[in-house]
């Protein structure tokens, strides 16, 4: 108890114009400790870590490393003081190679002038090997999938011998198998005396990795707790300030087929996908990363073009040559990459929400502002936007709240078929429960919903029926008692790789 903690936050506060993101945050982490940082969306976790890594400066309070107070003027100062950080949003330059990205800002050089590309690539490969040896450090990072790019972020944090490694949702795109390897890496870091701050909305991960955790709510520390002493439910209660009711799945599926996919194929990945989607049905889609789920949703949303096949809605064939067509047909997509495909950062919550339903809000020429504000308030209340500031630019909201605004967009547009791509990626337990609830409510109201998710419990919890995709095709359709994690995993692995007893070791969730 009297030993000097490796990392200590002392009375850290951060005020943004109009928002108090952190108030008087104090807690400490010892050397060799992996420490969880938990809280709902907007609790202030990322803000705290951004202060730690020198991106923001605190409004009040300070940080101490090994008992010495430090103040970082910029990210380089933090890095030099031994802080490594994995940011929640991918911070990468698409046109640079993996290795260049990993060494960005601290390149290895030959004779102090030229970049030592080979050496960088060799060391990058070393760092990557711990989690995914298949990533080629020489390719432009923009050609990688999100999951791989996240792994690169992790590997970058391992390059330097850091005293503190802060991880802000490092696994939001990763599979459980990849998480397992990350857990080993973290254990290794802890053995070397590194303090690890671990932020994740996946509580099981935090419980698996960390002995202790600090729980935050609305910018203040609720408590620092020993996880071994607490059941998950209690932690959740501390995070959200109330008990979350565990709900069970109920189906609202009715007889009528609303959407029929006939042999859909895309130019790139999707091959010959057929299924029916009923009124009030919740259809889950599971599969490995890269199995074509996102592409399938983009086809249904009109964002990509079909190379063959047909889509029918209410029995009538529709041509979806743009998202506009799809929206007119009652289809809306909540995309996977929120920052890139979801939000218009400078615009307000209202504008972002109203974007797809301009016809509704502007029946003639001008936007009916009163009606717009009324509807926006109603929808945002329903999705429980926090803080409830409808005119604030959406970029100032946390990821979870941005997601809520996008969902609100489709509610406002009166969409009948909702496509969710990883709807709870980067979203906290509280909001997750709210979003599950919302999705089920939508189904109960007669909406048809497709949910793509890499979290199998999520698919199983939500879906009436699950399509398992493998290499662009539907490998299986699971329903009722057949619908379980093991079955999904078994069907998701490509045939050639499947060996007896190995199903769980694949890249599918289990």
């Amino acid at each position: 108890m009297f030993e000097i903690p490796r990392l200590k936050f002392e009375g850290v506060s951060k005020v943004f114009p109009g928002v108090r993101a952190l108030s008087d945050v104090s807690f400490a982490i010892g050397a060799g400790e992996a420490h969880g940082l938990l809280g709902e969306n907007g609790a202030g976790k990322s803000t705290l870590l951004r202060i730690l890594s020198g991106v923001y400066r605190p409004t009040a309070g300070h940080i101490a490393i090994d008992g010495k107070p430090v103040a970082f003027a910029n990210p380089v100062a933090a890095r030099q003081a031994g802080i490594a950080m994995i940011h929640q949003e991918l911070q990468q330059v698409a046109r640079l190679s993996v290795a260049q990205n990993m060494f960005l800002g601290q390149p290895l050089t030959r004779s102090g002038i030229f970049v030592a590309s080979r050496e960088q690539e060799r060391r990058a490969a070393e760092a990557l090997a711990a989690i995914d040896p298949n990533i080629d450090p020489a390719v432009p990072i923009g050609t990688l999938k999100v999951a791989q790019r996240q792994i690169v972020e992790i590997a970058r944090a391992l390059l330097n011998r850091a005293k503190v490694v802060a991880m802000d949702e490092p696994t939001s795109s990763l599979t459980p198998a990849e998480f397992e390897r990350l857990a080993e890496v973290i254990a290794g870091l802890a053995r070397d005396g590194v303090a690890v701050v671990y932020v994740s909305h996946k509580l099981d991960e935090v419980f698996g990795i960390c002995r202790r955790a600090t729980i935050m709510r609305d910018g203040v520390v609720v408590d620092s707790v020993d996880l071994a002493d607490l059941p998950e439910k209690a932690v959740v209660a501390m995070m959200v300030g109330r008990e979350l009711a565990q709900e069970k799945h109920r189906s609202h599926k009715s007889g009528d087929v609303r959407l029929t996919a006939r042999s859909l194929s895309s130019a790139t990945k999707v091959r010959d996908v057929s299924f029916d989607l009923h009124r009030g049905e919740l259809l889950g889609i599971a599969g490995l990363v890269g199995s074509g789920r996102t592409e399938l949703l983009r086809l249904l949303a009109g964002a990509d073009r079909l190379s063959s096949g047909a889509i029918e809605i209410d029995g009538r064939s529709v041509r979806l040559s743009s998202p506009r067509d799809a929206i007119a047909a009652g289809i809306g997509l909540v995309p996977e990459e929120r920052k890139r495909e979801g939000i218009v950062p400078l615009r307000s919550i209202i504008s972002n929400m109203a974007l797809s339903s301009m016809k509704v809000f502007a029946p003639r020429v001008l936007i009916d502002n009163r009606r717009l504000r009324r509807v926006a308030a109603e929808k945002m209340q329903r999705v429980n936007l926090r803080p409830f500031l409808l005119d604030r630019p959406i970029r100032l909201f946390s990821g979870g709240n941005q997601q809520k605004a996008i969902i609100g967009r489709w509610l406002a547009a009166g969409t009948r078929i909702l496509l969710f791509d990883e709807p709870t990626r980067g979203i906290d337990v509280g909001a997750k429960a709210e979003i599950y609830h919302l999705i089920e409510e939508l189904a109960a109201e007669g909406h048809s919903v497709i949910v793509v998710s890499s979290e199998l419990p999520e698919v199983i919890r939500l879906a009436d029926r699950v399509l398992v995709m493998r290499e662009g095709t539907v490998a299986a359709e699971l329903e009722g008692t057949d619908l379980n994690e093991h079955a999904i995993a078994a069907h998701a692995i490509p045939q050639s790789k499947r060996q007896p007893g190995q199903a769980d070791a694949g890249r599918a969730s289990a």
């Binding site: 949303a301 964002a303 743009s322 998202p323 506009r324 799809a326 929206i327 997509l333 995309p335 890139r340 495909e341 979801g342 939000i343 218009v344 950062p345 400078l346 615009r347 504008s351 109203a354 974007l355 797809s356 301009m358 016809k359 809000f361 502007a362 020429v365 001008l366 936007i367 502002n369 504000r373 009324r374 308030a377 109603e378 945002m380 209340q381 409830f388 500031l389 409808l390 005119d391 967009r409």
Partner: protein, 325 residues
């Protein structure tokens, strides 16, 4: 739930006022500083007559800059406004000289503006070329067309009836000022109150997200360029009404003034951001500067110097009062 009900009823007025001031106060302060400067040094600068002169002299640039603002908001740029105006001017003028009815000649001129904008828009939106380069190319092309069409000669001696259309005055203000004020009002309404305005801001702010949200990207961009072309053509009509002649070399370097006005007014050339009020203020800043320097009889080299420095100063004031971004 007080915050919710407040959000519902809102204080839309208050929100708008505060949004106005954040964005446009900087430009307004810049304008006030410049006006104060010249007012102190130039006797008669604040004479009503001179203020009207300033407005009139700013009106053409303001007209172009409004179109430019919409294009810039959509994430583009339109370098071809000057040549578009020239083409519109010489075609209207030669129709008038051939005895065409005035409304027809004006309509044809405006249609040329729309057509020029349409070509720019299609090359940007459908072909996917960079706006800067597209309009750099059409800058030369349209200018060449105007020169070829007229053989390089100005069209002189436009009928008095036509000139009267743009040369009258209303409530003591020159008609050109009134017309541009109306254009500004329409542009403001478009940007703040119509779906198209939302679309412009969304397309410029995040094209990918706008696409997924069902915004008609191509149509929005094309419309922005067409409005820019239309307003360039309108500026051309006002100008030839004033000068009584249409030249194929009219509108040289207009694009730079228009971009400067929009930027001084807070438009971001990265797209997604811009303001009608700011642009108008920006155009008046530039107009007052020209007017004041002429009245002070500043030698031409020093006028050039002052132009450069004032553009920089206006941006600095703007930057300081508005904060980063």
């Amino acid at each position: 739930m007080s915050d919710i009900s407040q959000a519902i009823t809102g204080r839309p007025g208050a929100a708008f006022v505060s949004r106005f001031s954040m964005r446009d106060a900087g430009t307004l302060i810049g304008l006030v500083v410049i006006l104060g400067f010249f007012g102190a040094l130039v006797p008669g600068f604040f004479a009503e007559r001179n203020l009207i002169n300033i407005l009139q002299q700013s009106s053409i640039n303001a007209c172009l800059a409004l179109g430019m603002t919409l294009v810039i908001i959509s994430g583009g740029i339109d370098l071809s406004v000057g040549p578009t105006a020239a083409l519109s001017a010489v075609i209207s003028a030669s129709m008038l000289m051939a005895g065409a009815p005035i409304p027809l000649a004006i309509a044809a001129g405006l249609a040329i503006g729309l057509a020029g904008g349409l070509v720019n828009g299609i090359l940007v939106a459908h072909v996917g070329l960079q706006p800067f380069i597209v309009t750099l190319g059409t800058l030369s092309t349209y200018r060449a067309l105007a020169l070829i069409y007229t053989g390089g000669n100005p069209v002189l001696g436009l009928p008095a009836d036509f000139r009267a259309v743009f040369n009258g005055s209303l409530l003591g203000l020159p008609l050109s000022v009134v017309i541009v004020a109306m254009v500004a009002l329409v542009a403001w309404i478009i940007l703040k109150k119509t779906p198209f305005g939302e679309y412009l801001l969304a397309v410029g702010g995040n094209e990918e997200a706008a696409y997924i949200a069902g915004v008609p990207i191509a149509r929005t961009k094309i419309a922005a360029y067409m409005i820019s072309g239309l307003l360039a053509a309108l500026a051309a009509q006002i100008l030839i009404g004033r000068l009584g002649a249409a030249e194929p070399i009219l509108g040289n370097l207009w694009e730079l003034d228009a971009i400067a006005a929009a930027a001084i007014g807070g438009a971001s050339l990265m797209g997604g951001k811009g303001s009608v009020i700011g642009t108008i203020l920006g155009a008046v800043v530039l107009g007052s500067m020209r007017n004041g320097l002429t009245l002070m009889n500043v030698q031409s080299f020093y006028q050039l110097l002052a132009t450069g420095l004032i553009i920089l100063a206006a941006m600095l004031i703007d930057r300081v009062t508005r904060g980063r971004g």
